[in-house]
Each structure stands twice: as C-alpha cells, then as structure tokens.
C-alpha cells in the first residue's frame, strides 16, 4: 500500500460519513467531525466472490446488538461493497453527542456475521479538506483540549494548551473515485455553493484550483448553483450524473470540465416537490448502462444513460426521464451500491422503521 502513500497509523474518525472504495480495496471514509477524508486499507480477509445475491434482515438491530446498543442508537451513514470479496462495509455512528463514536462495520456476505474494522494501527492516509478556516477568520471556538490536541499559549507566566476549532465547516454529502481523483461533494454551513472537490490520490497537498463549480439551468430561464447531494460517475468515468439539494438531476461531461472556469450542466430530470435525492448507482442491463436514483418520496427511479445522452436540456419542469419504479418492494431505499454484475445492494427501511440489506437483480429492474 506504500505506492498509495498509506502508512500504519490511527484514523481518528469522529463522525462517520460517506464511504467509497478506491483502488486495491482502499476505502475512503469522510469524517464530517474533523473535516477530513481518510484512506484506509481495510485488510479484507475473504477470497474473490462470485455473483450471488446477499440479503440480511434487520441489519440495524444486528449492528446495534454487536455494538451493545439498540437499533435506534445507531445511524448507518453509508454502505460500500468491497470490490473483490463483495463483503459489505457500513459507516456507522454509534450514540450521539459526547458518547458518539464512529465505527466501520464489516458484514460478511457469506454468513451475515458482523465485525468491526478497527481504525487504529492500520495502513492509512488522510487529507484535511481545504475549507479549514481562513487565516483571517478570527471566529474560532476555543476550548480546553484533551489528548494533547491544540496549541500552547502563554498568558503571563502561565502556559496552557488551547484547542481552536473553526466555526465554518463543510459536510461531505457524497464521494466517488475516478481515474486517480477522489471527487467529493459537500454542503457548507455558511455559503451556498456547488463545490465539487477533485482531490488527487495518493493524497498530496490539496490543490484548490482543482475544485469544480457546476451551475444548472431550470425552466430554461433561471441559472443557479447549489450543493450536490449525491452523484454517480458512469461511461467509464467520463460522465457524471449529479442530484442537487434543490432536486434537479444534472448531467455533465467530466472531460469538458476545466477547474476555475464556469461550467453549466444539463438538467435532465427533476425529482418533484417534497422529494430529496438520497443515493445513485450505475449498472448494466442487457449491455446498456442505466442509473438508479433513490429518493425520499418515490420508489427507485431508473434512467437509461442513452436517454440522458439523447435528451436536450429541460426547458420546462418535467417529471424524471426514464422509468419510475414505484413497485412496493423498491420503496424506502436510502442507500445503493453495486454488489456484483448481477445485483445492486440496497439499504431499505420498511414501514416499521427497520432496516434491511436487499439484493436487487439488475436484469429485473
């Protein structure tokens, strides 16, 4: 793993955010508590997997029990499937407030057993997102630190250690690894912007000039920039489909995008009122690439990539292109990941609030 700049160390993750796999089974884990992204060698122990489905009832209660708490005491922030073994990795926040703890959970796809992946003494690398406080930003919350954090300050004859934490933060909403770059979408707690960071991996010093700002046009008339909620690369990473907090689904060609220049994506769908995008995944059906969009109000929405490529920008608000899948068994899906070529793995919440892992056969979607 040294070729990727990973060294044995401790990934001090405070808040479990989005996860995604990169090269050689390296997992990227966003920490919204410390504004960092960690790259971790998860050391997956299992052999290559085939194309079998994997289902697990009550995954939230099972993970909760393993962690010594109720299902309601955990939040499953994201899921990812190991590209070789197809074991399922869950980014889990256990407890809230001072008792909150980030845990990386591995679910064995052969027997459904649950273990945690310790984040200490493990090959890892980290990068701090570049929206750390400006040097001129004097608004820092100052607290007395624990564990030797912070800086030393001298007041008269006394020297004490203080921890200065920024007020301005960014919350990572989604990530994807494409062709040597980790793409990171985020939501600021101050300005309203549509920044998509493009971070070279192995991590070096983040180059701010790599950030992309993608505008989009609604109703053929109003141009806006907004934070990206979720996105998915397709067409071998040449294209991106992004869904915004303000609900349009926007296409842009990554090969056309130049950092530092204004880019306007093409709005190809809208999710409708009182509906938020949650996650997206690309899959192949009958040799054609398709996309699935999980959202808060409807079943999965399926979009053929050929429809996107053929479609002119929307000039009137429209319902989504493609085929909305409103069947009952596809309701309540909050997270999606490719399990293997034959199945997409979904995290699904049932009517009673219980969460399950379900395999969706791509040929039947």
């Amino acid at each position: 793993m040294s070729e990727f700049g990973l060294n044995v160390g401790n990934a001090d993750v405070r808040s479990a955010g989005p996860i995604t796999f990169g090269p050689e089974g390296i997992l990227f884990l966003a920490d919204n508590g410390s504004a960092k992204v960690f790259a971790v060698d998860v050391g997956d122990p299992d052999p290559d997997a085939g194309s079998e489905p994997f289902d697990l009832e009550d995954v939230d209660a099972r993970v909760g029990s393993f962690l010594g708490c109720r299902a309601t005491d955990i939040v499953i922030s994201d899921l990812a499937v190991h590209p070789r073994s197809h074991n399922v990795y869950l980014s889990v926040q256990r407890g809230r407030g001072d008792a909150g703890q980030a845990v990386l959970v591995r679910v064995d796809r052969l027997d459904g057993s649950i273990t945690d992946v310790p984040l200490t003494n493990r090959p890892m690398a980290e990068i701090t997102l570049a929206d750390a406080p400006d040097q001129d930003d004097e608004r820092l919350d100052i607290t007395l630190p624990q564990n030797g954090e912070g800086e030393e300050f001298t007041f008269g004859e006394r020297t004490i250690r203080l921890l200065r934490r920024p007020i301005r933060t960014s919350t990572v909403t989604d990530m994807a690894f494409i062709d040597g770059f980790l793409l990171v979408a985020g939501l600021s707690n101050e300005e309203f912007s549509s920044k998509l960071r493009r971070i070279p991996f192995p991590f070096g010093k983040e180059i701010a000039g790599n950030n992309l700002e993608i505008f989009h046009v609604s109703h053929g008339k109003w141009e806006t920039a907004a934070p990206i909620r979720t996105f998915v690369p397709y067409d071998d990473g040449r294209s991106i489909l992004a869904s915004y907090t303000c609900t349009p689904v926007v296409h842009f060609d990554l090969t056309d995008v130049e950092p530092g220049t204004k880019t306007v994506g093409r709005t190809v769908a809208e999710l409708g009122a009182m509906n938020q995008p949650l996650d997206m995944v690309a899959f192949v059906q009958d040799g054609e690439e398709h996309l699935l969009v999980a959202n808060t109000s409807h079943g999965l929405i399926k979009i053929a990539c050929t429809d996107i490529d053929a479609q002119a920008p929307l000039t009137e608000p429209q319902e989504p292109v493609g085929v909305p899948r409103e069947t009952e068994d596809l309701l309540g899906i909050t997270r999606l990941a490719n399990l293997n070529g034959d199945y997409v793995l979904a995290l699904q919440v049932d009517g009673g609030g219980r969460q399950h892992l379900r395999s969706l056969k791509t040929a039947a979607l």
């Binding site: 010594g68 299902a71 707690n189 101050e190 609604s218 141009e223």
Partner: protein
C-alpha cells in the same frame, strides 16, 4: 445463584460474573423489544479476575439500556445501566438573523447554543410556526447530516432551496415556505439534547415578519462608511443597504491600512445584521485604507457579491460578477 454485577476491571467498566467456570460460553446482548430473532452478541472480551470473570465491552455500555447475560445459551441475569440525573444547564444563546423583517426568499438561520449539542435532534425540535400556531410543514431542507460548527454549538438551518428557486417543480407545486405579509416564529423546543444527552433548560423562539423578495447582488457600492478620525480608537462603521448573513459577516470583511497590512481590532456585527463595526486595537493610521469584501458574502436570501441565488438569464443585470474581493477605499485624516 451466580452473582452478576456492574464492576470495574483493568480501569474499564465491566460486567462481573462471580464464580463463572472457565469453560463457560458467555454472551452479553442489549435487550430489545424488536422481534428480530437471535441477534449478535455484544463485542467484548472475557477476562479472568480470580474466581470471577469480567466482560469488558469493545464499545462502552450505553445509559438506559438493559443488558442480558447468557451462559451456555441460558439467560443468567439482566442488568440495567441507569442514566444519572443531570441538571439542565444548556440554553439557546442566539438565533440569527436578528432582523425583524425577512425576505420571502429567506434561505438560512443560525441557532447558537451555550454548550456543545447532540446531533440528530434538529429535525424534531426546531420548527417554524405561523400566526395561527400551525407548524409550517416541509420548510427546512431535510438532510441526513445536520450542519454544525466543529464544536457543535452553532446549528445552520437551510430553508428548502427547491421551494425557493424559481422554475423548479417543487417551487411550482409547493411554493415558498414563507408567505409575504405574514408573521411566523422560529421555535427551538426544550427537547433538544445537549452533548450529554440532557434536555435544554428552556425552549426559545424568535418572531419574524415576511416582506418582499430580495433578488439583487450584494453591492458594496451601496453601503455607507462612517470613517473615524485618524489617530483615534473610534470604530469604523459600515452601514449596509439590507440585512446580510450573520455567519458570513463574521469572516468576509477586513480592513487594510495605509501599509497594506490588516488592521487588527474587534469586529462587531450591528443590530439586524445591517451594519458592521471595527474598533482598532491601535489608533487608526492617517491615510488611505481599504475595506476588503470577500465575494462570497451573502444577504439573507443567498445572493452574494458575485452571483445571485437564482439568476434570470434574460436579465443582463443579473449576470455573475467577478469572483474577486471587492475593495472599498476610504481615507482617515
């Protein structure tokens, strides 16, 4: 009867099982009302301590949970982890904006608490309530991740941008969350939990009126500067043409002195976020100064110095402006 108690072992909390045979198979599980069949055992290690065995969990025991201890497949005991009574001390310090009238296309509120808070309560414990006491439904942007500062004392709340942006389906179907000419209040109820899991000492609310839309760039050329005399410690005052975003005001304005270096002092945001003052630490040097404005500075509706929240492509006046700091020159004498 084997005695099972809360205890300490190797400086960690544990469950002590007195006289447990060495070969016994011990499992600890949180008791749950869910009918999920047999759930995985809690992760942890069993340590021998004399004739006793101590279960040390990998993850700390959780308050207000009952744990079931089973040996060789048979339930042996249950233990409840009590939640200690803690006094309620945390409260809401501020809600921003402090402006009384907000634009109909208002975008963002900030709630500041007196102590670090727990995540996961904003959705149920912060709401907008109209004049009739009814909750304004679906007003806020629903989000898995709440927007906190690093110490979890300041919470950012975004009104649903899809309902504010013109031309979008949600805007056409559901309309603005706020209605022009009405009043409403932002309510934080006492059920919001601080970082220790304790409710607030009291809830809090702030009333607002809803006015016209705000759809112009923030333009420093529209501001009035009250310039202090040189060689004094009197503050520079900048009066805006409208209320601006409180969070961004804290970091988007700075003053450079005649030597081009930053004037260090105490910045202060004025009433209703309509002004900003800088009292210098050292007397003003006579000569030319510059007020430097970061172009990301926004008003209450998300319009910034460089771009509008949503731009009408048919209006040339709404084109994006240079994404560079704007400098406003003034002279102290």
């Amino acid at each position: 009867m084997t005695n099972v108690v809360w205890s300490r072992c190797r400086d960690e909390d544990c469950i002590r099982i007195e006289g447990l045979p060495a070969a016994a198979d011990l499992r600890v599980r949180p008791r749950t009302d869910d009918l999920c069949g047999e759930l995985p055992a809690m992760a942890g290690t069993l340590v021998r301590d004399g004739v006793d065995a101590c279960f040390i969990p990998r993850f700390p025991f959780v308050e207000d949970i009952t744990y079931t201890i089973a040996v060789d497949g048979l339930a042996l005991a249950t233990l409840h982890r009590h939640r200690p009574d803690r006094p309620t001390t945390t409260e809401v310090l501020d809600v921003h904006p402090t402006a009384i009238e907000l634009p109909r296309n208002m975008l963002r509120f900030y709630v500041t608490f007196s102590a670090p808070m727990s995540e996961g309560y904003a959705g149920d414990h912060v709401r907008l309530v109209d004049e009739d006491g009814l909750v304004i439904s679906a007003a806020f942007l629903p989000s898995d991740a709440e927007l906190w500062d690093r110490t979890r004392r300041r919470l950012t709340l975004l009104l649903d941008p899809a309902r504010i942006k013109r031309g979008l389906v949600p805007h056409r179907q559901a309309g603005y969350p706020l209605q022009k000419g009405t009043s409403f209040r932002l309510v934080v109820d006492g059920g919001f939990r601080d970082a220790s899991g304790t409710p607030l000492r009291a809830g809090s609310e702030r009333w607002y009126r809803v006015g016209e839309d705000q759809r112009r760039h923030v333009d420093p050329a529209d501001w009035v500067l009250c310039v202090p005399p040189g060689r004094t410690l009197e503050p520079l005052e900048v009066r805006f043409d409208r209320s601006l975003d409180h969070g961004l005001l804290g970091r988007c304005l700075r003053v450079l002195g005649p030597d081009g270096r930053r004037v260090v002092g105490s910045p202060e945001i004025g009433s209703e976020e309509r002004s900003w003052r800088l009292a210098p630490r050292a007397p003003w040097a006579p000569g030319p100064h510059q007020l430097v404005v970061d172009p990301v500075l926004e008003d209450l509706a998300g319009n910034s110095v460089s771009r509008l929240f949503d731009r009408d492509l048919t209006e040339t006046s709404e084109q994006p402006r240079r994404d560079q700091p704007v400098k406003v020159a003034f002279l102290t004498q």
